[in-house]
């Protein structure tokens, strides 16, 4: 581990932020076109973030401030472990477990900070966000464990590399179609896209965890949200959709996956939180268990395709 690793890590962080923020801006335009509007400028998301960072801010106690720093720190630490098209800032440390534990630091920091604001809407939002996490995590983790069992490795970059060379047919989403479906649905829950966005519901609980954030705190939360989106989409892309053989292929696949999720979510209504949990524990959980049994006992989709 040298200084260069940290430089690479910083480059990954910066590139992830710029790429994902630009993509979010483009997707706001896509959303607008779905709604037959003209839409904002593609760089609108940058303007929003820098505007928020420019504004003044007040604190609601040190838990509120510390939670924001902890969440941003945890998420930034996670981003530098994400392998991008085989490139890793810290080689051989891109374990699924490392990523999911570091991601939990960020999530808990956010929950702590929102609860520290003392606003009841924030508490409701946080409890819904954590419930939502429990709902999508169980089926997704079963599928990821199935992958780890099938490939004998927990390294994200190695699982991504094993899917390459056969085109679309090599993707885990195609080799294990039920698992692919579960991962794709879970991505909606991870990103907080409709129909699983009950924890931010602006008209119902006044944007939930974000309710007391203003100015700089809100700017940090926006940066955090962009980085978290990068982690989640990257993880699903690498594990189930073959990653990318080069940075360009990776970026294109990433953009297509994220835009597809956004387009689908724009025509969805919103689940109540109990409906979301029931949904995840009914359809995706059954799919995930069937997929696990098929891989463990029949071995289909692991090494032999044809």
């Amino acid at each position: 581990m040298t200084v260069m690793n940290f430089v690479y890590g910083f480059i990954v962080l910066l590139a992830a932020f710029i790429f994902q923020t630009a993509l979010t801006g483009v997707n706001r335009k896509v959303t607008a076109r779905i709604q037959k509007r003209y839409g904002p400028r593609w760089y609108q998301q940058f303007l929003d973030i820098f505007k928020a960072l420019r504004k003044g801010s007040i604190t609601h106690g040190w838990v509120f401030d510390f939670g924001v720093i902890m969440a941003l720190g945890g998420i930034m630490a996670t981003v530098i472990f994400i392998p991008v098209a085989g490139f890793e800032a810290f080689p051989n440390m891109d374990n699924v477990f490392v990523i999911s534990y570091l991601l939990a630091v960020g999530m808990l920091g956010m929950a702590m900070s929102a609860a520290g604001s003392g606003n009841p809407w924030a508490s409701i939002g946080v409890s819904r966000a954590l419930t939502n996490m429990v709902a999508y995590d169980v089926p997704l983790m079963i599928v990821i464990f199935t992958l780890i069992f099938a490939f004998d490795t927990a390294s994200v970059s190695e699982i991504a590399a094993m899917q390459q060379g056969m085109g679309v047919l090599g993707w885990n989403a195609v080799r294990m179609p039920l698992g692919g479906i579960v991962a794709f649905i879970a991505l909606f829950g991870m990103l907080g896209k409709k129909p699983f966005d009950s924890f931010i519901a602006p008209a119902e609980i006044a944007s939930g965890p974000m309710v007391e954030y203003g100015g700089k705190h809100l700017g940090f939360m926006f940066i955090l949200h962009e980085l978290m989106t990068f982690i989640e989409v990257s993880l699903i892309l690498s594990l189930f959709f073959g990653g990318g053989s080069s940075i360009l292929v990776y970026a294109i696949k990433y953009a297509i996956l994220y835009t597809l999720v956004n387009i689908i979510s724009q025509v969805m209504p919103r689940f109540k939180i109990d409906q979301a949990v029931k949904f995840f524990y009914r359809v995706p959980l059954v799919f995930a268990i069937i997929q696990g049994l098929v891989v463990i006992f029949l071995g289909w989709g692991v090494s032999v395709w044809f």
Partner: protein
């Protein structure tokens, strides 16, 4: 009250004002009929997101407070609460003749007549109520004002806080809300 016009911002404030002008998040206080003019302004017919504007859920997140109609003395207390919760820099756009001079309820026992005595209004939109075209035009004006550094109502409020507070107390007696839901 004439807000000062000379431009004595430094470079950072100019850059900040550029971002503020191009990304305006709004919170509207739906007191009167003006609120119903905003959905067409937001949706596909007029699409205010072109200007970088969008609705926000709470006053803490918002940059501009829209007062969309009559304010009774009771709602004025809530508006002052909401305004003081917002983070600097913050702006106020007041809709319609009712906020300018009381409109057709100018002689009501409960309706205030002149909003800028109580909170600093950056921009009035005349009309009863202004149509979405008028609202879009006003937002374009607001963007120009922020870019030129003329939307200084929030600074004016800080500098003349006693004057505003005195006006609020003269009309309302007490700004703190006492009711069944705040006790």
């Amino acid at each position: 009250m004439v807000l000062e016009n000379q431009d004595n911002r430094n470079l950072w404030e100019k850059i900040g004002d550029f971002f503020s002008a191009n990304s305006i998040w709004m919170k509207w206080y739906c007191t009167g009929c003006g609120a119903i003019e905003l959905p067409p302004t937001m949706t596909s017919r007029f699409d205010m997101e072109r200007l970088g504007m969008g609705p926000m859920a709470t006053p803490r997140q918002a940059d501009v407070l829209l007062i969309t109609g009559y304010l009774s003395s009771k709602t004025l207390r809530r508006v002052i609460y909401s305004y003081e919760q917002m983070q600097d820099p913050k702006y106020i756009v007041a809709f319609g003749s009712c906020t300018i001079n009381g409109g057709i309820y100018y002689d009501s026992y409960a309706t205030i007549n002149q909003l800028d005595k109580y909170i600093p209004v950056d921009l009035y939109i005349a009309g009863c109520m202004p149509r979405p075209e008028g609202i879009m035009n006003a937002f374009a004006d607001l963007i120009t004002m922020i870019k030129k550094g003329q939307a200084n109502g929030w600074r004016h409020y800080q500098e003349n806080y006693e004057w505003y507070k005195q006006n609020q107390l003269d009309s309302l007696k007490e700004v703190i809300i006492h009711d069944e839901f705040h006790e």
